[in-house]
């Protein structure tokens, strides 16, 4: 019996893993026995986002390998084992640990290494590179004892590394040999603007600096001596001066190499040996090493096609990039330096807003050749499509970079894109692919992400994806209706603006002026909620009581049998024994089922509507107040015990949690809001799964936003780091106010942000940079809500007229006989159908 041919993939980096994942999805998985070697101790991880390791992401978070991937696809992986020779005569590969395997095909995906310039002293202590998770761990160790860190290299990777150094809390320097930062992608003016912005972040930039040697420092571990005689004391030194292909194995195997390294490949990504391919940063195509991940992925796809007998070509890749460096948007497309013959250049520079844009167009002004964007890269998607698809430019190309100050629309309509236009470059998804998926039934961006993988890599194409979706749905005759309901032809946000601007205080007023009919169970609670967010009047006032949803109407949570559960507020989850006893006594007196909630408080179940005021009277007398578990409002601020008790705690998480919970309690919002505060990065409070999560660090509070547990878990995004309490609270005030104003009804913060054009960056620009000049308003509104807080239960039990509603029958003191409890594990629970029948029979008998 002939066994399957063997395919060996050498290297399990980003490109190697992408190749395997594509193999696993093709029929080739059955054709070949697949073996891969990975010299690192862990399989592939996301090197592009390595700096997030310092922003709290773990090695697991960065992993690119789904759990069980190798097992499920029958791929054998040798971790922590490096291939040391490829014997092409015998067709075998051998590893460091002594494994020898016969191969039929080999794919080199050995990647690259960080280039360390040949400077005297480059091997001194704390001189490191920035490439692997192990490098990062060494950086962390070196940073513990040092104060100053310097990155040698001011290119893309160097600036990314500088962010990592800054995140470690070190005074950060960038030393660049070239006269400007990112010399490959930036022109002089763009580089200067970038430098200015980076320096504003507290990073010292030294350009045109030639390092002579590194010696022992006087105040620091090291000292960098420059050729011009200047010196720089620094502890940590990170070399990020470019990459070099990892080609020694291929070289020793006798494969054809480029003069300056790199494994030579043809358009099928084959090396000089027809059974051996090379992909990614180790491969040299047409004299080029591609130091980006997308071309590596394209090469991987070419090899898959070739193995499958399909015609495939790798014919170079676009090197356009967009990235965010320490909060600064930077993008570069095509011929940024205007080297093309006859090229015409347009520039726009805004010194106040620190924005620089440059367009390079063909001599006939019809085609875009290149672009540079600093400070505002929002036009990248559109410009890239003009460039890649050679779409004819508008009559005045500069309209593409000039700010829009009227209603004129200069964006490129997605309809202008050909089907072949690549929308997602990470996963090579074209507009045609997306249209097909929409025809096959995808109706939302989430559907499309699942079905095509578009926008699930770097996410940069998210807005474009949504435009394609909307445009296609409209073409298919779907009306993208955003009306709240049949009574209001407005979105929630539009209604909120009307309420705010026209100072509308009641539903009746609003529907008379801007709606029609009586309202319904969609618009009434939504409007009731907005009125509460804006004016914060008591929700059971006569004008408002009919608007409230089930739970708000009786300030408790209705359960399946029509009884209610009661949740008093326990701020930060901190409760003293007396209060705990009081809670127990109330539970006992009214025979309530008691359960600890996920939000660190106690839920008391099985209260009849007529019992609610009595229960709350007892609770309020004991010092409790409403927990707003019934409202679309702030629920809890969960906390770990923090530095007060914990050996590892960095700051007082409980204290902050209590302060925040007291600040925002009662705030009505589009949906419920959950917070958590952790006292250190062990994250025991699980803050990253909350709408607002806060983690204490040595440098201050780190703020995460828009996380979610529940149905669609989502890790919160790091929003700002190293904050003092005052700034933290300011940001949260603004964030919440903005959410309250602009989210759709019942939209949690996670979905709100995911649907926001511009996403996290936009949100930051609004909340941190005050791009909309709205922050004063947002803070004032929050302060108003805080100042007008009342415990809704206290107000209710003090008002006889409000208590009238809290009875089951208007004309009788009897109870609802349909409410039947049985006992389980020593507590009550609602009877099930069989038990009910039995109960009725015995009653009748």
């Amino acid at each position: 019996m002939k066994t399957k041919p063997t395919l060996v993939v050498i290297g399990n980096g980003m490109v190697g893993q992408y190749f395997l994942s594509q193999l696993a999805e093709s029929s080739l998985k059955e054709t070949y026995q697949i073996v891969t070697f990975c010299e690192e101790i862990r399989p592939a991880y996301d090197r592009v986002h390595l700096s997030q390791f310092f922003a709290g992401k773990t090695a697991d978070d960065l992993s690119l390998v789904p759990e069980g991937f190798f097992e499920q696809n029958g791929i054998r992986i040798h971790l922590n084992d490096k291939v040391i020779s490829v014997n092409r005569a015998n067709k075998t590969v051998s590893s460091e640990k002594g494994i020898t395997i016969s191969y039929d095909k080999v794919v080199f995906a050995t990647g690259s290494y960080a280039f360390v310039p040949p400077i005297i002293g480059n091997n001194r202590p704390s001189c490191l590179v920035y490439r692997t998770i192990e490098d990062l761990e060494q950086m962390v160790a070196a940073a513990k004892t040092g104060k100053i860190g310097t990155v040698v290299g001011g290119g893309l990777l160097g600036l990314e590394a500088a962010k990592a150094v800054k995140d470690l809390g070190l005074e950060t320097h960038v030393v660049q040999f070239a006269p400007r930062l990112m010399e490959m992608q930036m022109d002089d003016a763009g580089g200067a603007m970038l430098r200015h912005k980076i320096e504003n972040l507290g990073i010292r930039v030294h350009t045109s600096k030639n390092t002579r040697e590194i010696v022992a420092g006087e105040t620091c571990v090291n000292k960098i001596c420059f050729v011009d005689g200047e010196e720089l004391e620094t502890d940590l030194i990170l070399f990020s001066a470019g990459i070099r292909p990892r080609d020694e194995l291929a070289r020793n195997s006798g494969l054809a190499m480029g003069a300056r390294g790199g494994i030579e490949i043809n358009n099928q990504c084959k090396t000089s040996d027809p059974d051996i391919y090379a992909i990614g940063e180790c491969a040299l195509w047409n004299g080029m090493i591609y130091g980006l991940v997308a071309p590596g992925y394209a090469m991987a796809r070419a090899v898959i096609s070739d193995l499958a007998g399909e015609e495939a070509h790798f014919t170079g890749a676009d090197m356009s990039t967009k990235l965010k460096l320490m909060g600064v948007d930077v993008a570069s497309i095509g011929d940024a330096h205007a080297k093309s013959k006859g090229a015409i250049v347009y520039t726009y520079q805004n010194g106040a807003a620190e924005i620089y844009k440059r367009l390079v167009v063909s001599s006939d002004k019809k085609k875009l050749l290149g672009a540079v964007l600093v400070g505002d890269a929002s036009g990248y998607g559109t410009l890239l499509q003009y460039y890649l698809n050679a779409i004819e430019l508008p009559e005045n190309p500069d309209s593409l970079i000039l700010p829009h100050r009227s209603d004129e629309s200069v964006g490129l309509g997605v309809d202008a894109l050909p089907k072949s236009a690549q929308i997602c470059s990470c996963f090579n998804v074209t507009k045609g692919d997306i249209c097909e998926a929409i025809e096959a039934g995808c109706k939302t961006v989430d559907d499309l992400k699942l079905s095509t993988k578009a926008a699930t890599g770097c996410g940069g194409c998210g807005a474009l994806l949504k435009s394609v979706l909307n445009s296609e749905l409209t073409k298919q005759g779907y009306e993208v209706n955003t009306d709240l309901c049949e009574h209001f032809v407005f979105t929630r946000q539009e209604l909120f603006d009307l309420i705010r601007v026209e100072e509308i205080k009641t539903f009746t007023d609003l529907i008379e002026k801007h709606g029609k009919g009586l309202g319904c169970d969609v618009c009434k609670p939504t409007v009731g909620n907005m009125l509460a967010s804006q004016w914060n009047e008591f929700i059971l006032e006569n004008a408002h009581v009919g608007l409230q949803d089930t739970n708000d109407t009786f300030l408790a949570n209705m359960q399946k049998d029509g009884t209610y559960s009661v949740v008093p507020r326990i701020t930060g989850g901190e409760i003293n024994p007396d209060m705990l006893i009081a809670l127990g006594q109330v539970g006992k007196k009214y025979n309530l089922y008691t359960k600890i909630t996920g939000g660190q408080r106690v839920d008391l179940f099985g209260a009849r509507v007529d019992e609610l005021p009595h229960i709350w009277k007892a609770l309020i007398d004991a010092g409790f107040e409403s927990g707003h578990a019934y409202g679309k409002s702030l629920r809890t601020v969960k906390s770990c015990v923090g530095s007060t008790w914990c050996r590892f705690g960095v700051d007082d998480s409980v204290g902050l949690a209590i302060e925040l919970e007291n600040r925002y309690k009662g705030l009505r919002s589009p949906h419920k809001i959950k917070f958590a505060v952790s006292g250190c990065t062990r994250e025991c409070a699980e803050a990253q799964s909350k709408d607002v999560g806060i983690i204490a660090t040595e440098n201050g509070w780190n703020l995460y936003v828009c996380g979610n547990g529940g149905m669609k878990p989502r890790h919160g995004d790091l929003f700002a780091t190293g904050l003092d309490k005052e700034t933290l609270i300011k940001y949260i005030d603004r964030f919440l106010s903005f959410y309250v104003r602009t989210a759709e009804r019942l939209q949690r913060t996670s979905v709100w942000m995911e649907n926001m054009e511009g996403g996290l960056d936009y949100l930051k620009s609004v909340v941190i940079d005050d791009k909309l000049a709205l922050c004063d308003q947002l803070e004032t509104q929050m302060q108003y809500v805080i100042d007008t807080y009342q415990c809704e239960w206290k107000t209710t039990i003090e008002d006889e007229s409000k208590l009238k509603r809290f009875r089951h029958f208007i004309n009788s003191d009897q109870h609802d006989e349909n409410v039947i409890f049985v006992e389980e594990r020593g507590q009550i629970r609602p009877a099930n159908d069989i038990e009910r029948k039995h109960f009725r029979l015995t009653e009748v008998a």
């Binding site: 009574h487 009586l518 006569n542 109407t553 399946k560 029509g562 029958f809 004309n811 009788s812 349909n818």
Partner: protein, 107 residues
């Protein structure tokens, strides 16, 4: 038909509901645009006596209440469920006489 006095108009809440015990049956009474409507208080989907606590409004011209449990809508005049027309709530005759709310019962 006999008209039983249930409560006074001042016991009603505009655009909202209350529950009354009428001849041993739970009746949900709603007060919308100066008109009273009465249907069974029993939610046949959630199997609980809760309909009087639902939000009142109109959908496509019909005056409805939304179940507070699973949000099905019932026409207050006919008892028909908008989501499933095979489900129909018992409807009671109702009126206001001299500021008193009355429910009609057949003996």
């Amino acid at each position: 038909m006999n008209w039983l006095n249930v409560c006074s108009v001042s016991d009603l809440q505009n655009d909202s509901g209350i529950c009354a015990l009428v001849n041993g049956e739970q009746v949900a009474i709603f007060y919308v645009k100066n008109t009273v409507y009465a249907v069974s208080n029993f939610d046949p989907f959630g199997n609980a006596n809760v309909l009087s606590r639902g939000v009142v409004g109109d959908l496509k011209g019909q005056i409805v209440v939304a179940s507070p449990l699973y949000k099905q809508h019932f026409n207050l005049a006919t008892g028909v469920c908008l989501e499933d027309e095979n489900v129909i709530l018992p409807v009671y005759a109702s009126r206001i006489e001299n500021d008193t709310v009355q429910i009609g019962v057949t003996l």
